[in-house]
Symmetry: D2
Subunit: 339 residues, 4 copies
């Protein structure tokens, strides 16, 4: 309350708290009086009080996440991707091209990925692109090629679903449904995948806080799909030397505050091929449950995001190094401390 707030103003605030079934605790201080609200389980909207005479500020202290929060559910979630477990302490590699471009490109990419020992293959059939004039993916034909890859190699498919209309078709092929960064707050889509049981990889929006990411995941969990993996892929900042600012501390925060596994996507995070390996390794050491990288048989001929794809040689070296770091990591006392 404002330092000059009247008794009547304080009483009005208390009344509004109690009318909502909660408890008001009046705390006179050195310069101001505070009113603490207790008894509420999910937080009270600040809008109920801001604007009332004498009210200066309204600070939320309750955690709005019931299902995602590690405080509520200390047990870590294990996500099962057709026999591959994510979140068990190992570091899973997910790799493949940005977009599926042709049968030849898909199969050559899959060979590279399978040869590295990775078990999860990424590749976009439906590509959300900033410009309507950019390549939008092969769509259903791309799904068909992913299905062929799946039958041919011992690989699980991670691919993006762009809307509810194509969800059935994508789910037929996908072992993991990816929600892209631009759709992180597309709540209709979150609700749609929340009703399915296929694991979901939820990418953080480039302009979204971690708390918003947690609440987006809360949408999916609250509808019954508990198999959610979070993904850090870079946030938008004033720095232009990298495509985004790849926020490695997000990995640490996600593991500390939630029980969900977290995957790092350094390819989108920095957007520059030669800078991907050091960032991927940093993510492993910071505690990521997995790393997703783009690899392409010929990055310079890629139809999308070629500048951030690794060559087959760089990819092979990176996987070897990440495996060594993951092995090193597993021998250390703790990666991220418990709350």
């Amino acid at each position: 309350m404002h330092r000059n707030a009247t008794e009547a103003q304080i009483d009005a605030v208390c009344k509004r708290i109690e009318d909502a079934g909660n408890t008001a605790n009046v705390l006179p201080g050195a310069t101001r009086t505070a009113v603490a609200i207790t008894g509420n389980e999910t937080g009270i909207a600040a809008e109920r009080f801001l604007g009332m005479p004498g009210v200066i500020d309204c600070v939320a202290v309750t955690n709005a996440c019931r299902l995602v929060s590690r405080e509520m559910h200390p047990q870590r979630t294990l996500v099962d991707v057709r026999g591959v477990t994510i979140g068990d302490g190992n570091c899973t590699t997910i790799a493949g091209p940005c977009a599926i471009e042709s049968r030849d490109q898909a199969f050559r990419s899959a060979e590279i990925v399978a040869a590295s020992g990775a078990k999860l293959f990424r590749g976009g059939a439906f590509k959300p692109r900033t410009s309507p004039y950019s390549f939008q993916g092969l769509k259903h034909e791309g799904l068909k090629l992913l299905d062929d890859v799946k039958r041919e190699f011992d690989l699980r498919i991670v691919t993006e679903v762009r809307d509810s209309e194509t969800l059935d078709a994508v789910e037929l092929v996908a072992d993991v449904l990816q929600i892209g960064a631009r759709n992180m707050q597309n709540y209709s889509l979150l609700e749609a995948v929340g009703k399915r049981r296929t694991p979901v990889l939820l990418k953080r929006g480039a302009g979204c806080t971690l708390n918003e990411l947690f609440l987006a995941a809360e949408y999916i969990l609250s509808l019954g799909n508990k198999q959610v993996i979070l993904c850090e892929r870079g946030i938008r900042t004033f720095e232009t030397m990298t495509r985004n600012t790849f926020d490695i501390s997000a990995i640490v925060m996600i593991r500390h505050h939630t029980h969900l596994p977290v995957i790092a996507d350094p390819s989108h995070g920095v957007g520059i091929g030669w800078a991907v390996p050091p960032m991927a390794k940093a993510a492993v050491v910071a505690g990521a449950d997995g790393v997703m990288v783009e690899v392409h048989p010929q990055p310079w001929s890629a139809l999308s995001d070629g500048q951030q794809a690794l060559t087959p040689e760089a990819y092979a070296q990176l996987v070897r190094e990440m495996n060594e770091l993951a092995a090193w990591r597993s021998k250390q006392p703790t990666v991220i401390p418990a709350q």
Copy 2:
């Protein structure tokens, strides 16, 4: 090219440019050699060159927007909302509550809006909310109430469409289809409204650049719907004293670089009721084609965003002041200079 780039490296770049059907112009400079690309109409993806030996940087100079750009289409677009023209030099007021909450609240709000002389009524039936536990709108029942408002008052309806599934239902009621900030890059939804002919109000995403906003509009225009209004509603920055940073220069840039009308939404922009009027007036003077504000019969009892809604009294005063400023503005030589 790197200052030590070899002839062979420069030749390889030129070859790739010419293989794509464009022209390479080699420009030796004081410390580096540049290669300029001409003959391309829509820009060449940087990924084709970044990563090639000897290449240091790749700078786009072509405007990627063909349909939205004022350089290409100097004539300003007029949007017709059932007889009300937006973009003709006047400043249109759009007002109403954040969400439709009940028949009584909808009708009392509509009375306030109609009494002010405004012709467009806003109100959400489908509300995208950060938390799954927040009020999500009355949905189809809310649309029904909006339809009742439309029949009762001389008001056009601006309401948000959240997904393709509910587009038909929303379009039956809406005179303007609003695409929310979180859906600005939901390309499936952009494509869906691009195929309709109802005017679209496209809000800038909080983490999106103006160039991305223009390209999102380009999706809609490229599918045939030319009746697009852009909307600035605040961007996400490090400042926390306001909900967002309301970027008034965006209004100036939109009017300079595009031919589409632009609406300001200071309610979401600052998120604090008492700060909305000065920002709304600033937007008028900066050249907005319209201002959208939230008003509620009782802001403190609103089910969403009450802290940013105006009281009926504050709203009435604001409309009067905005009208005076718009009249003043129309007498000045130019608001935003031509390119």
Copy 3:
């Protein structure tokens, strides 16, 4: 406290609060127990508690600004610049070139400014520049030219002081000491001007929050110099179409939360000459106590920041329009509401 915090952990927190001479208020809630601290006048550093077992978060609610806050000092500050009052409800124009380049340029600029009726002239003698190879100002020779302008015209001088070493020399000429945005948190310089009695124009750093701006001003006031004017000149965001994002809501927040006058600097805010007038006018309507704009007899030949300077013609029109808006503004009931 964490929902599983033990009694002993809560007791340890209370003990630490009471050992510091404050009062601990234990508030058991639905899921967690909160401990409110009262009795402290300036806020307690969160670091005293974060890291203690069982502590989840520590939220500051006390206002750290004692002298700058309008809550503490409701009376608005009037700054007297040799007979010109800033902060009395009028809107003061400050104009001139970015840098003083020559006697001819300085005098031609001063003529333009004086002819418009403005009373304050800006011009840099010591210019902080991002690159060491850019023009750094005429330094002491520039001060001499400013002094000549001051003697020749009825103009007060606003010029930047870059360091304590040159403060004496600058103060001999300056009617207002400008602290540049890059020096907003140069506390040695803030302390130096805090000990003087010449008015100070303190620019908000491009990466600084309003709360940090208020605390920077608090440094100056706490040393006895109460004649402080705050200045919004744009913040750094992800948007690249403008030089900075000119945060007009900052004007509203400064007037609401502090008693100090606020000046808008749209020239640095947007950095594009043709976009300055609409932003300047928006700032007037939003409640600025003054507007500072760059004008140059020949913008295209300026040695610094020419792209954002107004031509003499554009400047003359802008001053006329700003004066009309300021007159209009003074007739309205309130610009920014009291707290």
Copy 4:
């Protein structure tokens, strides 16, 4: 040039380029004509052209950094700190408390640091603080204590210099002069340390781009002090869960684009003690030449930034792990690729 630019407008641009002694290259394209400037060594200010009739945009392609750029000086800089080399491929640990608080605290901290095998001790005597009411350091008494530590232990001293006035006193004690993030663009201070020969640790400002960091270093190098170490300590973004966003990709970019060593400061980067170790390890793997961390004998009783200091136990474990990772790193083919 604008697509409708006239011949005369293009000619005027060419004339201005040639009048400045450079060469204009006219490049007619599919929709627009571009004019490329060659023959300039340091870039031409865009302000010379923006605002000219028919000009739409002006894009800088020249690298403004002559001395800092690795393109110009491929040989990596080695910084010699009294016998300890930074930048030779090893990873140097710098550790100590945020501020020197007392003889006892300084010596106990130094013991912890020396026991870990680290050779560089950090500790602030002059502390720039956001609020004038926060602890500002012991100042000259703190320097005296640092000098005592230096005599007692085999440790080199890294401490901040806040202004030119105290530079002599600080330089008597410091083996490395630290320029704090808030002073990164305090050009008077940069010039002052540029004239000395003591190594400088230049911290990136929280709101500053990497390019601005490089240009700030360019100030120091251009005055003759070549012993400059750059430091990433987190940037300001919209995310509030961490104190700053610790930009690990900055380490990769600095090593790629400059020849200067780079130190990571994860303590300020994340600002939360338990999150420092994973970020520190990530920085090592990403290629940092050193890591600076805050350690305090009793973090919870620290007079500043205690929430981000490590306990002696956590510090000891971290140093052990960082050393293992640095050893692993030195066996890999390359960390950051050459340009």
